[in-house]
Protein backbone atom coordinates (compact mmCIF):
# COMPACT_ATOMS: atom_id res chain seq x y z
CA UNK A 1 0.00 0.00 0.00
CA UNK A 2 3.00 2.31 0.31
CA UNK A 3 2.84 2.78 -3.47
CA UNK A 4 -0.36 4.77 -2.90
CA UNK A 5 0.85 6.72 0.10
CA UNK A 6 3.95 8.42 -1.31
CA UNK A 7 3.92 12.19 -0.89
CA UNK A 8 5.54 12.72 -4.30
CA UNK A 9 3.33 11.83 -7.29
CA UNK A 10 3.95 8.43 -8.80
CA UNK A 11 3.00 8.21 -12.44
CA UNK A 12 3.61 4.48 -12.66
CA UNK A 13 0.74 2.74 -14.46
CA UNK A 14 0.18 0.32 -11.57
CA UNK A 15 -1.08 3.17 -9.37
CA UNK A 16 -2.64 5.45 -11.96
CA UNK A 17 -4.25 3.36 -14.69
CA UNK A 18 -7.17 0.96 -14.64
CA UNK A 19 -7.05 -2.12 -16.93
CA UNK A 20 -8.91 -1.74 -20.23
CA UNK A 21 -9.21 -5.40 -21.12
CA UNK A 22 -11.54 -6.53 -18.33
CA UNK A 23 -14.80 -8.15 -19.37
CA UNK A 24 -18.05 -6.47 -18.29
CA UNK A 25 -18.50 -9.05 -15.53
CA UNK A 26 -14.97 -8.51 -14.24
CA UNK A 27 -15.49 -4.74 -14.31
CA UNK A 28 -18.69 -5.14 -12.23
CA UNK A 29 -16.85 -7.42 -9.80
CA UNK A 30 -14.02 -4.87 -9.41
CA UNK A 31 -16.54 -2.04 -9.05
CA UNK A 32 -18.55 -3.83 -6.34
CA UNK A 33 -15.44 -5.02 -4.51
CA UNK A 34 -13.81 -1.62 -4.20
CA UNK A 35 -17.14 0.06 -3.44
CA UNK A 36 -17.79 -2.20 -0.46
CA UNK A 37 -14.13 -2.02 0.65
CA UNK A 38 -14.27 1.78 0.86
CA UNK A 39 -17.57 1.64 2.75
CA UNK A 40 -16.07 -0.94 5.10
CA UNK A 41 -12.98 1.15 5.83
CA UNK A 42 -15.16 4.21 6.48
CA UNK A 43 -17.38 2.17 8.81
CA UNK A 44 -14.29 0.79 10.59
CA UNK A 45 -12.96 4.33 11.08
CA UNK A 46 -16.25 5.43 12.60
CA UNK A 47 -16.47 2.31 14.80
CA UNK A 48 -13.12 3.20 16.31
CA UNK A 49 -14.17 6.86 16.56
CA UNK A 50 -17.25 5.75 18.52
CA UNK A 51 -15.15 3.53 20.78
CA UNK A 52 -12.64 6.34 21.37
CA UNK A 53 -15.46 8.75 22.26
CA UNK A 54 -16.32 6.47 25.21
CA UNK A 55 -13.05 4.71 26.04
CA UNK A 56 -10.56 7.30 24.84
CA UNK A 57 -9.50 8.22 28.38
CA UNK A 58 -9.07 4.60 29.49
CA UNK A 59 -5.34 4.04 30.06
CA UNK A 60 -5.34 0.48 28.72
CA UNK A 61 -7.99 0.51 25.99
CA UNK A 62 -7.52 4.08 24.73
CA UNK A 63 -4.04 3.75 23.19
CA UNK A 64 -4.91 0.29 21.81
CA UNK A 65 -8.02 1.53 20.02
CA UNK A 66 -6.15 4.63 18.81
CA UNK A 67 -3.41 2.47 17.27
CA UNK A 68 -5.95 0.31 15.41
CA UNK A 69 -7.82 3.45 14.33
CA UNK A 70 -4.60 4.95 12.92
CA UNK A 71 -4.13 1.86 10.78
CA UNK A 72 -7.72 2.11 9.51
CA UNK A 73 -7.08 5.74 8.51
CA UNK A 74 -4.22 4.54 6.33
CA UNK A 75 -6.45 1.82 4.84
CA UNK A 76 -9.08 4.43 3.99
CA UNK A 77 -6.52 6.72 2.33
CA UNK A 78 -5.40 3.79 0.14
CA UNK A 79 -9.02 2.89 -0.70
CA UNK A 80 -9.75 6.47 -1.77
CA UNK A 81 -6.77 6.39 -4.14
CA UNK A 82 -7.92 3.03 -5.54
CA UNK A 83 -11.37 4.51 -6.13
CA UNK A 84 -9.88 7.37 -8.12
CA UNK A 85 -7.60 5.05 -10.09
CA UNK A 86 -10.27 2.53 -11.07
CA UNK A 87 -13.10 5.10 -11.37
CA UNK A 88 -15.34 3.41 -8.84
CA UNK A 89 -18.73 4.77 -7.89
CA UNK A 90 -18.99 5.05 -4.08
CA UNK A 91 -21.97 3.50 -2.36
CA UNK A 92 -24.99 5.71 -1.65
CA UNK A 93 -25.00 4.22 1.84
CA UNK A 94 -21.80 5.94 2.99
CA UNK A 95 -23.57 8.30 5.40
CA UNK A 96 -25.51 5.34 6.83
CA UNK A 97 -22.20 3.46 7.21
CA UNK A 98 -20.76 6.38 9.21
CA UNK A 99 -23.78 6.62 11.53
CA UNK A 100 -24.05 2.84 12.00
CA UNK A 101 -20.29 2.52 12.56
CA UNK A 102 -20.13 5.28 15.16
CA UNK A 103 -23.27 3.95 16.87
CA UNK A 104 -21.93 0.40 17.01
CA UNK A 105 -18.56 1.54 18.35
CA UNK A 106 -20.08 3.82 20.99
CA UNK A 107 -22.73 1.34 22.17
CA UNK A 108 -20.31 -1.58 22.51
CA UNK A 109 -17.80 0.69 24.27
CA UNK A 110 -20.53 1.74 26.74
CA UNK A 111 -21.06 -1.98 27.45
CA UNK A 112 -17.43 -2.21 28.53
CA UNK A 113 -13.90 -2.67 27.24
CA UNK A 114 -14.44 -6.39 26.64
CA UNK A 115 -17.59 -5.70 24.60
CA UNK A 116 -15.69 -3.13 22.51
CA UNK A 117 -13.03 -5.76 21.84
CA UNK A 118 -15.74 -8.33 21.04
CA UNK A 119 -17.18 -5.91 18.48
CA UNK A 120 -13.73 -5.51 16.91
CA UNK A 121 -13.28 -9.30 16.93
CA UNK A 122 -16.64 -9.88 15.20
CA UNK A 123 -16.15 -7.16 12.58
CA UNK A 124 -12.57 -8.14 11.76
CA UNK A 125 -13.57 -11.82 11.42
CA UNK A 126 -16.15 -10.94 8.77
CA UNK A 127 -13.81 -8.46 7.04
CA UNK A 128 -10.98 -11.00 6.95
CA UNK A 129 -13.25 -13.58 5.27
CA UNK A 130 -14.58 -10.91 2.92
CA UNK A 131 -11.06 -9.94 1.75
CA UNK A 132 -10.28 -13.64 1.21
CA UNK A 133 -13.37 -13.94 -1.00
CA UNK A 134 -12.22 -10.91 -2.99
CA UNK A 135 -8.77 -12.39 -3.52
CA UNK A 136 -10.48 -15.51 -4.86
CA UNK A 137 -12.57 -13.39 -7.25
CA UNK A 138 -9.50 -11.46 -8.41
CA UNK A 139 -7.62 -14.69 -9.15
CA UNK A 140 -9.45 -14.92 -12.52
CA UNK A 141 -8.41 -11.38 -13.55
CA UNK A 142 -5.60 -10.82 -16.10
CA UNK A 143 -2.34 -11.51 -14.30
CA UNK A 144 -0.09 -9.46 -16.59
CA UNK A 145 -1.73 -6.15 -15.63
CA UNK A 146 0.43 -4.38 -12.99
CA UNK A 147 -2.54 -2.53 -11.45
CA UNK A 148 -4.40 -5.81 -10.76
CA UNK A 149 -1.28 -7.38 -9.27
CA UNK A 150 -0.82 -4.33 -7.04
CA UNK A 151 -4.51 -4.43 -6.06
CA UNK A 152 -4.19 -8.09 -4.98
CA UNK A 153 -1.10 -7.20 -2.91
CA UNK A 154 -2.94 -4.28 -1.29
CA UNK A 155 -5.98 -6.42 -0.42
CA UNK A 156 -3.71 -9.11 0.99
CA UNK A 157 -1.96 -6.50 3.16
CA UNK A 158 -5.26 -5.01 4.34
CA UNK A 159 -6.58 -8.49 5.17
CA UNK A 160 -3.48 -9.26 7.23
CA UNK A 161 -3.84 -5.97 9.13
CA UNK A 162 -7.50 -6.71 9.90
CA UNK A 163 -6.63 -10.22 11.14
CA UNK A 164 -3.97 -8.62 13.35
CA UNK A 165 -6.72 -6.41 14.84
CA UNK A 166 -8.76 -9.57 15.42
CA UNK A 167 -5.84 -11.16 17.30
CA UNK A 168 -5.37 -7.97 19.32
CA UNK A 169 -9.05 -7.99 20.29
CA UNK A 170 -8.92 -11.66 21.37
CA UNK A 171 -5.73 -11.10 23.41
CA UNK A 172 -7.49 -8.17 25.13
CA UNK A 173 -10.32 -10.29 26.51
CA UNK A 174 -12.88 -9.96 23.71
CA UNK A 175 -14.24 -13.40 24.57
CA UNK A 176 -14.91 -12.37 28.17
CA UNK A 177 -17.49 -9.82 27.01
CA UNK A 178 -20.99 -10.29 28.42
CA UNK A 179 -23.15 -12.15 25.87
CA UNK A 180 -20.10 -12.63 23.65
CA UNK A 181 -21.75 -15.26 21.43
CA UNK A 182 -24.90 -13.18 20.89
CA UNK A 183 -22.94 -9.96 20.37
CA UNK A 184 -20.61 -11.63 17.85
CA UNK A 185 -23.54 -13.18 15.96
CA UNK A 186 -25.49 -9.91 15.76
CA UNK A 187 -22.48 -7.80 14.75
CA UNK A 188 -21.28 -10.42 12.25
CA UNK A 189 -24.71 -10.73 10.65
CA UNK A 190 -25.02 -6.94 10.45
CA UNK A 191 -21.65 -6.72 8.71
CA UNK A 192 -22.61 -9.38 6.15
CA UNK A 193 -25.87 -7.58 5.34
CA UNK A 194 -24.03 -4.26 5.03
CA UNK A 195 -21.50 -5.84 2.66
CA UNK A 196 -24.24 -7.19 0.36
CA UNK A 197 -26.09 -3.86 0.39
CA UNK A 198 -23.00 -1.77 -0.34
CA UNK A 199 -22.04 -4.05 -3.25
CA UNK A 200 -25.32 -3.26 -4.95
CA UNK A 201 -26.33 0.25 -3.91
Amino acid sequence: SSAYLRSTPDFHSATTLTPNELSLEQRHTLDAALRVDQAGEIAANYIYAGQMAVLGRDKAAGPLIQEMWNQEKVHLAVMNKLHLQHRIRPTLLLEAAKVAGFGLGAVTALMGKEAAMACTEAVETVIGEHYDDQLRDLASFPTHDPSIQLLKDVIRELRDDELEHLDTAVVNNAQRAPGHALLSTVVGAGCRVAIELCKRI
Binding site: H83, L84, R87, R89, P90, L92, L94, E95
Partner: protein, 211 residues
Amino acid sequence: MTARAILQHALPLISTHGFTRKTLSLAVMQLPTPHSQPLSETAITALFGNGDDARRTLINGWLKGGLEDMQHGKTTGGTMQHILKRRLRWNEPVLEHLPEAFALLVAPQQTLPRFDIRPAISHAASVADEACYLTSDSPEGTSWYVRRAVIASIYTAAELHQITSPQTSEAFLDELLEKSESVRRVVAESSLFAEYVGKSWGSLIKSRGIF
Protein backbone atom coordinates in the same frame (compact mmCIF):
# COMPACT_ATOMS: atom_id res chain seq x y z
CA MET B 1 -13.09 -4.47 -41.97
CA THR B 2 -14.73 -4.32 -38.54
CA ALA B 3 -17.85 -2.48 -37.50
CA ARG B 4 -15.73 -0.49 -35.07
CA ALA B 5 -13.35 0.67 -37.80
CA ILE B 6 -16.27 1.69 -40.05
CA LEU B 7 -17.87 3.59 -37.18
CA GLN B 8 -14.58 5.38 -36.48
CA HIS B 9 -14.28 6.48 -40.10
CA ALA B 10 -17.93 7.51 -40.25
CA LEU B 11 -17.51 10.20 -37.57
CA PRO B 12 -15.87 12.84 -39.82
CA LEU B 13 -18.67 12.35 -42.39
CA ILE B 14 -21.49 13.19 -39.98
CA SER B 15 -21.15 16.94 -40.48
CA THR B 16 -21.91 16.48 -44.20
CA HIS B 17 -24.34 13.57 -44.23
CA GLY B 18 -25.84 13.64 -40.74
CA PHE B 19 -26.51 10.71 -38.43
CA THR B 20 -27.77 8.53 -41.28
CA ARG B 21 -27.31 5.09 -42.72
CA LYS B 22 -25.75 6.81 -45.74
CA THR B 23 -22.93 8.08 -43.50
CA LEU B 24 -22.17 4.52 -42.43
CA SER B 25 -22.42 3.37 -46.03
CA LEU B 26 -19.90 5.96 -47.25
CA ALA B 27 -17.48 5.35 -44.36
CA VAL B 28 -16.01 2.27 -46.04
CA MET B 29 -14.63 4.54 -48.76
CA GLN B 30 -12.58 6.35 -46.09
CA LEU B 31 -10.91 3.20 -44.71
CA PRO B 32 -7.11 2.80 -45.03
CA THR B 33 -7.85 0.22 -47.73
CA PRO B 34 -10.93 1.93 -49.14
CA HIS B 35 -13.80 0.15 -50.83
CA SER B 36 -14.72 1.26 -54.34
CA GLN B 37 -18.43 1.16 -53.54
CA PRO B 38 -20.42 2.30 -50.51
CA LEU B 39 -21.68 -0.40 -48.15
CA SER B 40 -24.98 -1.99 -49.12
CA GLU B 41 -28.12 -1.67 -46.97
CA THR B 42 -27.93 -5.39 -46.17
CA ALA B 43 -24.38 -5.03 -44.89
CA ILE B 44 -25.30 -1.97 -42.79
CA THR B 45 -28.20 -3.90 -41.26
CA ALA B 46 -25.96 -6.88 -40.55
CA LEU B 47 -23.24 -4.75 -38.93
CA PHE B 48 -25.21 -2.00 -37.22
CA GLY B 49 -28.86 -3.09 -37.04
CA ASN B 50 -32.16 -2.48 -38.75
CA GLY B 51 -33.62 0.93 -39.66
CA ASP B 52 -32.99 3.56 -36.98
CA ASP B 53 -30.96 1.13 -34.83
CA ALA B 54 -28.00 1.71 -37.16
CA ARG B 55 -28.45 5.48 -36.73
CA ARG B 56 -28.53 5.07 -32.95
CA THR B 57 -25.33 3.02 -33.12
CA LEU B 58 -23.73 5.88 -35.07
CA ILE B 59 -24.99 8.48 -32.56
CA ASN B 60 -23.68 6.43 -29.62
CA GLY B 61 -20.36 5.99 -31.40
CA TRP B 62 -20.14 9.74 -31.91
CA LEU B 63 -21.00 10.38 -28.22
CA LYS B 64 -18.24 7.95 -27.23
CA GLY B 65 -15.86 9.80 -29.55
CA GLY B 66 -16.75 12.99 -27.69
CA LEU B 67 -15.79 11.40 -24.38
CA GLU B 68 -12.45 10.25 -25.82
CA ASP B 69 -11.81 13.73 -27.21
CA MET B 70 -12.30 15.23 -23.72
CA GLN B 71 -9.16 13.38 -22.61
CA HIS B 72 -7.09 15.62 -24.88
CA GLY B 73 -8.47 18.53 -22.86
CA LYS B 74 -6.58 17.22 -19.84
CA THR B 75 -3.22 17.63 -21.56
CA THR B 76 -3.98 21.08 -22.98
CA GLY B 77 -5.61 22.80 -19.98
CA GLY B 78 -7.05 20.46 -17.44
CA THR B 79 -9.64 22.64 -15.70
CA MET B 80 -13.33 21.72 -15.60
CA GLN B 81 -14.11 24.79 -17.70
CA HIS B 82 -11.56 23.85 -20.34
CA ILE B 83 -12.67 20.23 -20.58
CA LEU B 84 -16.39 21.03 -20.82
CA LYS B 85 -15.70 23.69 -23.47
CA ARG B 86 -13.74 21.10 -25.41
CA ARG B 87 -16.76 18.80 -25.26
CA LEU B 88 -19.00 21.59 -26.53
CA ARG B 89 -16.58 22.16 -29.42
CA TRP B 90 -16.97 18.48 -30.35
CA ASN B 91 -20.63 19.32 -31.06
CA GLU B 92 -19.87 22.26 -33.36
CA PRO B 93 -19.35 20.46 -36.70
CA VAL B 94 -22.62 18.50 -36.28
CA LEU B 95 -24.75 21.09 -34.47
CA GLU B 96 -27.50 21.19 -37.08
CA HIS B 97 -27.94 17.41 -36.84
CA LEU B 98 -27.95 17.23 -33.03
CA PRO B 99 -31.65 17.94 -32.32
CA GLU B 100 -32.65 15.07 -34.61
CA ALA B 101 -29.99 12.81 -33.09
CA PHE B 102 -31.15 13.45 -29.52
CA ALA B 103 -34.79 13.02 -30.57
CA LEU B 104 -33.90 9.67 -32.12
CA LEU B 105 -32.24 8.52 -28.89
CA VAL B 106 -35.28 9.31 -26.71
CA ALA B 107 -37.86 8.20 -29.28
CA PRO B 108 -39.87 5.16 -28.22
CA GLN B 109 -38.69 1.87 -29.66
CA GLN B 110 -41.77 0.10 -28.32
CA THR B 111 -45.33 1.26 -27.61
CA LEU B 112 -44.53 1.97 -23.94
CA PRO B 113 -42.87 3.90 -22.42
CA ARG B 114 -43.69 6.78 -24.72
CA PHE B 115 -40.28 8.35 -24.30
CA ASP B 116 -37.09 6.85 -22.96
CA ILE B 117 -35.13 9.64 -21.31
CA ARG B 118 -32.44 7.27 -20.05
CA PRO B 119 -30.11 7.91 -23.02
CA ALA B 120 -30.30 11.66 -22.37
CA ILE B 121 -29.51 11.20 -18.68
CA SER B 122 -26.80 8.68 -19.53
CA HIS B 123 -25.17 11.15 -21.98
CA ALA B 124 -25.06 14.01 -19.44
CA ALA B 125 -23.91 11.65 -16.67
CA SER B 126 -21.11 10.24 -18.86
CA VAL B 127 -19.83 13.71 -19.73
CA ALA B 128 -19.96 14.77 -16.07
CA ASP B 129 -18.22 11.59 -14.90
CA GLU B 130 -15.47 11.94 -17.50
CA ALA B 131 -14.96 15.63 -16.68
CA CYS B 132 -14.76 14.94 -12.93
CA TYR B 133 -12.32 12.07 -13.53
CA LEU B 134 -10.07 14.14 -15.80
CA THR B 135 -9.98 17.04 -13.32
CA SER B 136 -9.50 14.64 -10.35
CA ASP B 137 -12.62 16.24 -8.90
CA SER B 138 -13.94 13.24 -7.02
CA PRO B 139 -15.03 14.03 -3.47
CA GLU B 140 -16.07 11.18 -1.21
CA GLY B 141 -19.48 9.98 -0.25
CA THR B 142 -22.68 11.67 -1.36
CA SER B 143 -20.65 14.68 -2.58
CA TRP B 144 -19.46 12.42 -5.42
CA TYR B 145 -23.04 12.17 -6.66
CA VAL B 146 -23.90 15.80 -5.96
CA ARG B 147 -20.86 17.08 -7.87
CA ARG B 148 -21.63 14.91 -10.89
CA ALA B 149 -25.31 15.89 -10.84
CA VAL B 150 -24.33 19.56 -10.77
CA ILE B 151 -21.82 19.21 -13.64
CA ALA B 152 -24.33 17.13 -15.66
CA SER B 153 -27.00 19.82 -15.21
CA ILE B 154 -24.58 22.60 -16.15
CA TYR B 155 -23.41 20.74 -19.23
CA THR B 156 -26.96 19.87 -20.33
CA ALA B 157 -28.02 23.51 -20.00
CA ALA B 158 -24.94 24.67 -21.94
CA GLU B 159 -25.48 22.08 -24.67
CA LEU B 160 -29.14 23.04 -25.12
CA HIS B 161 -28.07 26.70 -25.20
CA GLN B 162 -25.47 25.82 -27.85
CA ILE B 163 -28.14 24.35 -30.13
CA THR B 164 -30.08 27.63 -30.14
CA SER B 165 -27.20 30.11 -29.76
CA PRO B 166 -23.80 28.57 -30.53
CA GLN B 167 -21.84 31.84 -30.29
CA THR B 168 -22.75 32.49 -26.65
CA SER B 169 -22.60 28.89 -25.39
CA GLU B 170 -19.08 29.12 -23.91
CA ALA B 171 -19.88 32.35 -22.07
CA PHE B 172 -23.07 30.71 -20.77
CA LEU B 173 -21.06 27.72 -19.56
CA ASP B 174 -18.57 30.05 -17.80
CA GLU B 175 -21.43 31.83 -16.05
CA LEU B 176 -23.02 28.58 -14.85
CA LEU B 177 -19.69 27.19 -13.59
CA GLU B 178 -18.97 30.45 -11.75
CA LYS B 179 -22.40 30.41 -10.06
CA SER B 180 -21.98 26.77 -9.09
CA GLU B 181 -18.54 27.54 -7.64
CA SER B 182 -19.88 30.42 -5.52
CA VAL B 183 -22.72 28.23 -4.21
CA ARG B 184 -20.16 25.52 -3.37
CA ARG B 185 -18.01 28.10 -1.51
CA VAL B 186 -21.00 29.40 0.46
CA VAL B 187 -22.06 25.85 1.44
CA ALA B 188 -18.49 24.93 2.47
CA GLU B 189 -18.07 28.10 4.55
CA SER B 190 -21.49 27.65 6.17
CA SER B 191 -20.63 24.04 7.07
CA LEU B 192 -17.31 25.16 8.56
CA PHE B 193 -19.03 27.88 10.57
CA ALA B 194 -21.68 25.42 11.80
CA GLU B 195 -18.90 23.00 12.79
CA TYR B 196 -17.09 25.70 14.81
CA VAL B 197 -20.33 26.72 16.52
CA GLY B 198 -21.04 23.04 17.31
CA LYS B 199 -17.53 22.54 18.73
CA SER B 200 -17.72 25.67 20.84
CA TRP B 201 -21.08 24.56 22.27
CA GLY B 202 -19.58 21.13 22.98
CA SER B 203 -16.69 22.76 24.84
CA LEU B 204 -19.07 25.01 26.79
CA ILE B 205 -21.16 22.01 27.87
CA LYS B 206 -18.04 20.03 28.84
CA SER B 207 -16.67 22.97 30.83
CA ARG B 208 -19.96 23.09 32.82
CA GLY B 209 -19.21 19.52 33.92
CA ILE B 210 -22.48 18.16 32.57
CA PHE B 211 -20.63 15.21 31.00
